[in-house]
């Protein structure tokens, strides 16, 4: 029996293992992030909320989540 292929992505400052074929939406689910509560960037580019489910992750991808904060 062979193991299911997997990938690793960098999420903020840590490494996360995901099954091959996973999308950005899957990563949000895995991290228990409410879809509307964060904005997402993949390899330095903004990914709109409605494009997450169609955005496949690849091994070595860098994902950032952003959220609102006070500011000047």
């Amino acid at each position: 029996m062979t193991a299911l292929p997997s990938i690793t992505v960098r999420l903020d400052d840590r490494t996360v293992a995901m099954p091959a074929g996973a999308t950005l939406a899957h990563l949000l689910e895995r991290e228990r992030r409410e879809a509307a509560a964060v904005a997402t960037a993949l390899n330095g580019r903004f990914v709109p909320r409605d494009a997450r489910a169609d955005t496949a992750l690849n091994d070595g991808d860098v994902v950032l989540f952003f959220q609102p904060i006070v500011g000047g």
Binding site: V38, A39, F46, P48, L64, I69, G72
Partner: protein
């Protein structure tokens, strides 16, 4: 009559009277010309009271990566207070060093905050936090093309200002002094020149103000509004200071409309007597 101190901040701040000349930005009429930042307050409650005391209708906010510490609920509470006084949010692109970064962050801000308004910051020097004019213009050009209403944080450089207006920015936000320095209006000549050369442009002094007198001075010079954060958040009593800045902004605006007298190089007697003191004549 003795002067009285500002009311203690433990009381609910008084209702701030509305100005008589609203500021129009992107088709939105703002009654307050005092834009307030939301960062660095001692507590969420202090932030909320400061917003009330300031009467601000533009509140700046930011974005952070989720691995960083939270804000203790300050933003959620500030939103509620802001709504009560018709405030709009102005997300910033703080921390960006390139046009590319700023554009990406602006898109995230638009999605999270639901506004196309963006305070565009592209920093070119870590020590002074001076904006990078080249990256700023590049980012503004792209963001305007993508439907954003760009509030560019810039210097008092007239030519850069013109390029930003050419790119489609509806206003400019020149610094008074480096961010958070509290030094006031460092380059009066440059700021006056900007005001004189762009008489029909909305100009907001953003950054560097430390005292209400400096805000009043900016308004007296004909600037349309001021944006500040640290001077209120870091005050001994942020709520009282927010009220003091609000008073100063209104006073400075009224003074601008009233028309300041022209400075004279020599003394000019104000009492209409003749040239000699009439009781000490030599006759």
């Amino acid at each position: 009559m003795p002067l009285t101190a500002h009311p203690p901040s433990t009381d609910r701040p008084a209702i701030v009277p509305k100005a008589t000349d609203p500021l129009l930005i992107d088709g939105v009429a703002l009654d307050s010309r005092f834009f307030l930042g939301t960062a660095g307050y001692p507590s969420p409650a202090t932030l909320c009271d400061a917003i009330r005391a300031a009467g601000s209708q533009v509140l700046t906010v930011g974005l952070k990566r989720t691995l960083q510490a939270g804000d203790n609920g300050a933003l959620t509470q500030a939103f509620a207070v802001g709504r009560e006084q018709g405030a709009r949010l102005l997300p910033n692109t703080a921390g960006c060093r390139s046009a590319r970064e700023a554009v990406q962050l602006a898109h995230m801000a638009r999605e999270l905050y639901g506004t196309a308004w963006i305070k565009l910051e592209v920093i070119g020097d870590d020590h002074t936090l001076q904006p990078d004019p080249f990256e700023l213009v590049a980012a503004a050009t792209e963001l305007v093309r993508e439907g954003f209403v760009v509030f560019p944080y810039c210097t008092e450089d007239l030519i850069v200002g013109r390029r930003l207006l050419d790119a489609g920015c509806p206003l400019l936000m020149p610094w008074g002094a480096p961010i958070g320095s509290g030094q006031g209006l460092l380059n009066l000549h440059g700021l006056r020149t900007l005001r004189e050369r762009l008489p029909d442009t909305v100009l907001v002094i953003d950054a560097g103000l430390g005292a209400p007198s400096q805000a009043a001075r900016a308004m007296e010079l004909g600037f349309d509004a001021v944006l500040l954060n640290s001077a209120v958040a870091q005050a001994g009593d942020p709520v009282a200071m927010a009220g003091a800045f609000g008073d100063a902004v209104r006073a400075g605006r009224r003074a601008f409309h009233a028309g300041l007298m022209a400075p004279q190089a020599f003394a000019v007697a104000s009492t209409p007597v003749s040239g000699h003191a009439f009781l000490l004549g030599d006759a």
